[in-house]
């Protein structure tokens, strides 16, 4: 089985999708279903975060089981700053990204000394540390989480408390983030990451400072997840320990696998598929997790390479992996 290093972003796919996402709120508001704007924001946020995890797992071969730590860290930074009276998005959001990036730098520097199963376990361990630290901080809500007084303040006249406006902010970040990701994986840096995934020892012997590239990817992915956390906490108006939990890390990994590990659109498709499935099942039964579990199991057993490969096989329109 051959693997391609090129992952072209086709304008013929990306631009219509972007256009559709731009007009989406007008359509659902016209048919008076504003809830879908909220759902779409949520999907876009997780598409961004899952894509950042796909950079690690799918392109760098680093199966991190602790990505929720950075998502949650970003969320908590915004919520904690808000509690201390700093509501400005211009301060809080960069701070969330910076904290997540620094956390990723520290955690990555230690974790990336290990490989394989040990890497999975040590990233999980660090995420658990972060989780328990926040749960035990009673001043910041402890088990109950920390709710936001309002959404972050951008500028007079721009009120993020409007779900539609917030949607567009999320869309701007998610689409820019995805575009940068698409540039990244095809750049020299992206090639090196994929080379490391394929044969790390060989990359070292070719003269690449492997550790530096892996750490770079880990920090980039962590920072992106931090941004996702800043957006998510505004969406939910609550920073909850659940965002940091290992099941959240599991859900993020699930999105990546579901969408297609190492495929350009894998994170996006996985996030959309998982969250839509969740909504759909939840509409029918409170026991939607049972259905979700069954579907996931079926995917692993019968579509091992995720949805992106199915789309890829389906025709030229989907050949963007």
């Amino acid at each position: 089985m051959g693997v391609q290093l090129d992952h072209p972003l086709h304008a013929a796919v990306a631009l219509p999708l972007l256009a559709a996402l731009i007009v989406f709120p007008f359509v659902v508001l016209a048919i008076d279903e504003p809830f879908y704007v909220v759902l779409a924001s949520r999907i876009l946020i997780f598409a961004l975060v899952a894509t950042s995890l796909n950079l690690l797992v799918g392109f760098g071969g680093m199966v991190s089981f602790g990505h929720a730590a950075f998502l949650g860290a970003g969320a908590y930074v915004v919520a904690i700053l808000m509690q201390h009276g700093v509501a400005s998005a211009w301060i809080a959001w960069p701070a969330a990204v910076a904290v997540a990036a620094l956390a990723a730098l520290a955690i990555g520097a230690v974790c990336l000394r290990t490989r394989g199963v040990y890497f999975i376990m040590i990233t999980l361990a660090f995420a658990q540390m972060v989780y328990f630290v926040f749960v035990s901080l009673k001043a910041y809500g402890g088990d109950d989480g920390l709710s936001l007084a309002s959404r972050s303040v951008v500028a007079p006249g721009i009120d993020l408390n409007s779900d539609t406006l917030f949607y567009y902010v999320v869309l701007a970040f998610a689409s820019t983030g995805f575009f940068l990701f698409a540039r990244l994986v095809n750049s020299r840096f992206g090639r090196v990451l994929q080379g490391i995934r394929e044969n790390e020892t060989r990359m070292e012997a070719l003269g690449y400072a492997v550790h530096r590239y892996k750490l770079g990817a880990f920090v980039l992915a962590g920072a992106t997840a931090g941004l996702g956390g800043a957006l998510l906490v505004n969406q939910n108006e609550l920073a909850s320990p659940g965002t940091l939990s290992w099941t959240q890390s599991g859900m993020l990994l699930t999105m990546v696998i579901l969408g297609g590990v190492g495929y350009l659109w894998g994170g996006v498709m996985g996030a959309a598929a998982l969250l839509l499935m969740e909504e759909l099942l939840a509409a029918y039964t409170i026991h939607w997790q049972l259905g979700l579990g069954l579907v996931l199991l079926a995917v692993v057993l019968f579509a091992p390479n995720g949805l992106a490969t199915l789309a890829r096989a389906a025709g030229p329109g989907g050949r963007d992996g």
Partner: protein, 304 residues
């Protein structure tokens, strides 16, 4: 001093129950090279089964035995129907598939038993305390758990080190290809090991049920701890699982009591009150990260 002794025993008791989970997990991990996130679900199912049988028969002994047998059968069925297909897959697929199983197990229990926690009462004769030393009382039921845990550890040790099956298991854990080459019926061996691991989970679930709530999600916290245990002990090593489990049990239990106390002596009470519990709960993860950092193969590596 008494507090220290009591917490030490509590830690040992918790550690031994952790060992029951970790033993099965480490064998599956070591022999099949498989990450099984659904291992904690077997523990949960074991506890539910025990509660169910106890509720209908009133006999604690029957409840434990029935839960063991039932969970073992369920574990073997699971191995044959799903897990077997995952051995040759990468860790990522295993994580996803067993994560799915975990969701399925949780939701099934919720459908069958509701969201309320079930109660599982210890046998009446063991409900009181025992005077271990003059003035030092310790709950009889917890002593029983320690006894059972030690007995199982001894049994496992004999099984693994003295029997043919144990030899095959050890061979499989250190070198799968060799075990295959020896013509071992690996499939049957894997199924048996998995069923055995499931039974150990059920034992832990049934024994811990009276101390903790029998509820959906009970398997997850302890699953993560069991992973910590086997990473500290060395993947695939029973001896490592025992050592790791006792270390984690004691460090975690003692840390929760002693750390806040000792912090209070050096820090203002409000700071200590905040810091203590959070430090205590991350203690074992710090320990695990340290072990991975300095001894990546764990304390008792199974592979040469």
């Amino acid at each position: 001093m008494i507090l220290f002794l009591e917490q030490g025993l509590n830690g040992l008791q918790f550690g031994l129950m952790l060992f029951l989970l970790a033993a099965g997990l480490t064998l599956v991990f070591g022999i099949m090279d498989m990450i099984n996130l659904a291992h904690g679900s077997l523990y949960m199912i074991g506890a539910y089964l025990a509660a169910l049988i106890l509720g209908s028969t009133g006999s604690f002994l029957l409840a434990v035995a029935g839960s063991l047998a039932g969970t073992a059968v369920l574990g073997m069925l699971l191995e044959i129907s799903v897990l077997r297909r995952l051995y040759s897959r990468d860790h990522l697929s295993q994580v996803l598939a067993t994560f799915a199983l975990l969701l399925i197990a949780n939701e099934s229990m919720r459908i069958l038993f509701g969201s309320q926690a079930l109660t599982l009462n210890p046998p009446a004769v063991l409900s009181g305390p025992v005077e271990l030393a003059p003035g030092f009382f310790y709950p009889a039921y917890r002593l029983l758990i320690i006894g059972v845990g030690l007995a199982v550890a001894l049994l496992l040790y004999l099984l693994v080190s003295r029997t043919r099956i144990g030899m095959l298991v050890r061979a499989g854990a250190s070198n799968r290809e060799m075990a295959l080459a020896m013509g071992v019926n690996v499939r049957a061996l894997f199924t048996a090991v998995f069923g055995f691991g499931a039974a150990l989970c059920a034992l832990a679930g049934a024994m811990l049920g009276p101390l903790l709530a029998v509820e959906v999600g009970m398997g997850e916290g302890i699953l993560i701890l069991a992973f910590v245990v086997i990473v500290i002990g060395g993947i695939g090593s029973i001896r490592g699982a025992l050592a790791g489990a006792v270390i984690v049990g004691v460090v975690d239990t003692l840390g929760r009591t002693l750390l806040p106390m000792s912090l209070r002596t050096v820090l203002p009470p409000t700071v200590a009150g905040n810091l203590g519990p959070s430090l205590a709960s991350i203690l074992i993860y710090v320990l695990m990260a340290a072990v991975l950092f300095w001894r990546p193969q764990g304390l008792f590596p199974a592979r040469g």
